[in-house]
């Protein structure tokens, strides 16, 4: 077991830092149903952490706990060493935790650029009144943020669609725009809920590349849920495996692959 401040070096030689977020004995219930049963794990600075498990295992619920959309009945979320109180999702977002959604939640009526600009909402200083009063400084600030957004746009290679309304984009590009919006917030932790769901092989390869690039370029800590086992094993540094709301495995892709409980629950019959 690693110490919480001590890092580790990944198989491909990247240095991972100490614990950014620790989930301690999280239990989440909906009425009588326990979606998450007493789960603990940690997320370290700079790593790509995957949560996998069969359908209905509670992966998305876990992500919703981290992003504040659900508040667990029991357990603590410890972020940067402090226990996080009960929070609303927008407050969690303001603490530097950005996310994407399984079923894409973009502002369909707005342009790609505007969508990504909303990602910087938290980083804009000018409040309502100062924007009304000091038009000049607000305009300057807007321009600065615009510059940062353009960088994200370049990074994710979506320049040609900058001004297109999101509703007109194909599915794969929407997913990428959603990632761009989350990235624009310069998050401490980036949560990706099935970033590759419903994509074809090519789109999956693109998305995988972007996830790795984001992690590499900005050192962003990434937590992702994914069904495609090939993708998960390639991308992630450490994997949490869930089944029926319980944690049944936690470790590097290799460790998880050889864990008997995981093979039984998730992979079914081992392909030997």
């Amino acid at each position: 077991m690693l110490d919480s401040t001590e890092g580790y070096v990944t198989a491909d030689g990247r240095q991972i830092g100490g614990v950014v977020m620790e989930l301690k004995n999280i239990t989440l219930r909906f009425g009588g149903v326990e979606a998450i049963k007493n789960i603990s794990f940690d997320i370290r600075k700079g790593e790509i952490r995957a949560i996998i498990g069969p359908n209905g295992a509670g992966k998305s619920s876990m992500l919703n706990v981290i992003s504040g959309f659900y508040n667990p009945q029991e357990g603590d979320v410890i972020y940067k060493g402090y226990k996080r109180p009960r929070m609303r999702p927008y407050q969690v977002a303001r603490m530097g935790i950005a996310r994407t959604f399984q079923n894409i939640a973009l502002f369909e009526g707005m342009s790609v650029l505007d969508n990504i600009m909303t990602g910087r909402m938290n980083l804009m200083k000018s409040g309502f009144f100062s924007q009304a009063m000091w038009w000049g400084s607000a305009a300057r600030e807007e321009a600065e943020h615009r510059e940062k957004v353009e960088k994200v746009i370049d990074f994710l290679e979506i320049q040609p669609i900058r001004k297109t309304p999101v509703s007109r984009l194909p599915y794969g590009l929407k997913k990428r725009v959603e990632l761009a919006r989350a990235l624009a917030a310069e998050p401490q932790i980036l949560l990706l809920d099935e970033p590759m769901a419903g994509m074809n092989v090519e789109e999956k390869e693109d998305m995988s590349r972007f996830v790795l690039d984001v992690n590499d370029e900005f050192g962003t800590t990434i937590v992702l849920i994914e069904h495609d086992m090939g993708v998960v094993m390639d991308l992630s540094d450490r994997v949490v495996v869930m089944d029926y709301g319980k944690k049944i495995g936690d470790g590097t892709p290799d460790e998880v692959r050889n864990n008997q409980a995981v093979i039984d629950a998730y992979l079914g019959v081992a392909h030997e």
């Binding site: 992003s67 959309f69 609303r88 999702p89 927008y90 407050q91 977002a93 303001r94 950005a98 996310r99 959604f101 939640a105 973009l106 502002f107 369909e108 009526g109 707005m110 505007d114 600009m117 909303t118 990602g119 909402m121 938290n122 804009m124 000018s126 309502f128 924007q131 009304a132 607000a138 807007e142 919006r181 989350a182 917030a185």
Partner: protein, 328 residues
Amino acid sequence: MSDTVLYALEAALNGLTVGIMYSLVALGFVLIFKASGIFNFAQGVMALFAALTLVGFQTGQVPFSHLINAAFGTSIHNFGWTMPTLLAIPATIAVMVGFAWLVERIVLKHLVNQAPIILFMATIGLAYFLEGLGDIMWGAEVKPLNVGLPQGMSRWVDETTFNLFGYGFFVDVLSLWALAIAAVLVTALVIFSQYTKQGRALRAVADDHQAALSVGISLRFIWVLTWSIAGLVALVAGIMWGSKSGVQFSLSLIALKALPVLILGGFTSIPGAIVGGLLIGVGEKLFDFFMQPVIGGATENWFAYMLALAFLLFRPQGLFGEKIIERV
């Protein structure tokens, strides 16, 4: 030019000026509908309430004076001072913002994730509540409202048209002011919604609540903001209507005229609200002008609704509304 054409032109011009008044009310509806998906039935009453409050402040009326007098046997009606308009307007805005905050606190907060029809019903309740509150607070009598806007016939229009056609048009100066004010208001709103952080947040909330939360937008703040802006627009509409025909409770019925305007312009379009209002204003006057000899007067009472009905049959999304296309 023949006389008929000239008279028709004059009627159309007057229609434009009445129409802009309808637009002002319709604007408030569109704003809230765009930002929260709620059709705010109380918009007309908000205009009335804002105007009542403004007059109350201006004349130094004691709020709830009837209630106080009945309870304590006193006879107070006035503070004995008058407030200058420049002070009374900000004070009224403060009241409308307070009202927006209360609406969020007491009503909207508890109705998150409810179907639009539920929220619509809530605004009907709100409309009646606010009408009653206005009555108890400020009294039910008709009050003149004067904020210093000029009234009466526009000499300029009269002279210009006389020089051009040899016949001077009669146009109310107040209506010309209404046009100018509406233009300023719409420009300000467009700049706000397109180019500011809060404006973008407002559009974001209208589009997708979940996504808005995930980028750190507080829904509650945005709702208070939206209702405050609607209150501000209501105040402008209230001032214009109040200056024109006095502050009276029939003002809340203008809300009904805003409905056909919205059906014409589309519920989601700010320019639509303006154009819809103008079309109804002009249509109403011209229809009356040409049809009066044939079917008699008072067509203004129903023309707008007939037009709206026709639109519902042939173009339900309105002139500028977003067409709803279901992908299957």
